[in-house]
Point group: C2
Chain length 338, copies 2
Amino acid sequence: MNLKEFAARIGLSQTTVSRAMSGYPEVKPETRARVLEAAERLGYRPNISAQRLATGRAGAIGIVFQGGGRFGPHSSEFMGGLSTRLQRDGIDILVSTVETEEEEAAAYRRLAASKRVDAVIVHTPACTDARIALLQALGLPFIVHGRSEAKKPFAFLDIDNFGAIATATKHLSDLGHRRIALINGDTASTYARDRENAWRTTLAARGLQADPALVGYGEFTDETGFRLMQSFLALPAPPTAVIAGSMMSALGAMRAIRIAGLALGDDVSLIAHDDVFPYLSPDNLVPALTTTQSPIRAAGERIGDMALRLLQGEKPEALQEVWPVDFVVRASTGPAPF
Amino acid sequence: MNLKEFAARIGLSQTTVSRAMSGYPEVKPETRARVLEAAERLGYRPNISAQRLATGRAGAIGIVFQGGGRFGPHSSEFMGGLSTRLQRDGIDILVSTVETEEEEAAAYRRLAASKRVDAVIVHTPACTDARIALLQALGLPFIVHGRSEAKKPFAFLDIDNFGAIATATKHLSDLGHRRIALINGDTASTYARDRENAWRTTLAARGLQADPALVGYGEFTDETGFRLMQSFLALPAPPTAVIAGSMMSALGAMRAIRIAGLALGDDVSLIAHDDVFPYLSPDNLVPALTTTQSPIRAAGERIGDMALRLLQGEKPEALQEVWPVDFVVRASTGPAPF
DNA sequence: CTGAAAGCGCTTACAG
DNA sequence: CTGAAAGCGCTTACAG
């Protein structure tokens, strides 16, 4: 049933029905009630495409994932939060996957030109990120999950990666560790740079050396954590403590430590940054894992919120947040050996 | 830029431009080439909402997730595959999250009435699932990921859950195990019923008892795997082998086994069903984990394919597939002790 | 092979 | 507070 039919059926004009349904103020309360009741009863719902064509709004927010690689467990948590928030305002999420940077840029051009979305979410930004300049040039509103440098201000939400790793490094140094390794993420990304800066700066402040052999990079997988930890342990002077970038890397690191016959929390201390997965808790590892933590689901909800405000005309520079990160000490960290 | 402007700019009618761009056959090849080149050069893209209004197609496929709980690592892999496939045909994915069954039903009604999607994907079906009847009543095309019983035929893709667990149970029984436990999923779902049937039937065929104390249910989390494994090990006659429903449950089970001071693959054998996560491989656990496996990402791609065919008018009864499951023996299974 | 025009189902300035 | 009508930007039967 369309508006014309529905309006005729209840004896009102299309105008009045449309206004009543979209919460427009100048409608007599009884009229509105009658319209809403009839819509419910007869199952009338405005055609979304027509609505969008008439208003010029897409009613959707886009998010692009590069390859399978970046659609991992963090993505699901983030999407869960984002979707929960946008749902409340009837905004759809449009998911695209691409293989390369070029394809990602092409996807944004396409989304912008076809007016398929009102805004996009950009994630895992590099320190200077071509996507930001592109979106600004295209005039397609966006929120960045993470931080980056750009000439013009833009909306973003990031966690305090520097603070998280600084806290972890300090804690390990307070326990007497002098060789502290870092299993970091993708080298190009801002978060990896921030984490490494925190590690380096904190060590320096304690008079400790940031040994280049004690930092490694890679995707947040069990595999990478394992490989890096094994290479650390093979060094002439292996580290007595390690900071892993995620729960998945930490699982790999724990495995390498176990295989080497070392006791976690005793011979080697381990801290992971944890994005809080409902299906895998640091409390449940053996030993329980000390973590810096920040719920990525909550970040997704908040970014949904910010996207809605952006569309309501708030300035990007008013939509910039950095969240502090919690630190929870558990059994995987202990005094440095000997 | 809209069609009118663009057509004027290149000196053709809107009709011809529209036809050239949408691959309509009766356009002179040179004309089409000229139109496509100009569109590329001038950045013209048809407005998606107008296109949808005119054609009556939404150009999107919906998928609803219940709560955060069901948006886990399996969802991300599946979505990665689905999105990759649909992308190729320019079909969007619309993600909704709801909290309850009622809300899920309401979401389908809304999607149908507002013509927001052309089809939906239903996942984790129960043995008899109200969603299927509802979607058939609404006339909203759908594909089920999993299987269910219904009066009218419908399109689905499932893996051979029965075969997977039958194979695993046989293998353990061949190794001499007589007390084989099962860490199962959500009781209401078809896959859990199929897996339990396989376990029960295979044990019976070998003259072994399907002890009710040796089967447990729950979400596929590390936590549940741990708890169930601990309860099995606390039995007067604990199992010597266990089949876990997912990698996450297996991680928990492995932990419980380790804490109990038992040797995996020696004192206790473990097989997991693995949906193939790129960030956590069964080869990388210690010991490497024997698995039945099926790539959920590939299932996502295939379901995207089936959805497109459904929209092209193929009958649901022609779109029904059951995929075999691989079995890979690794180090976590061995002969029954003593 | 190409074009003029109706129609898809809404919203919203304008008029009352 | 309500309505008649134009317009959003496409597609597509119809005519040539």
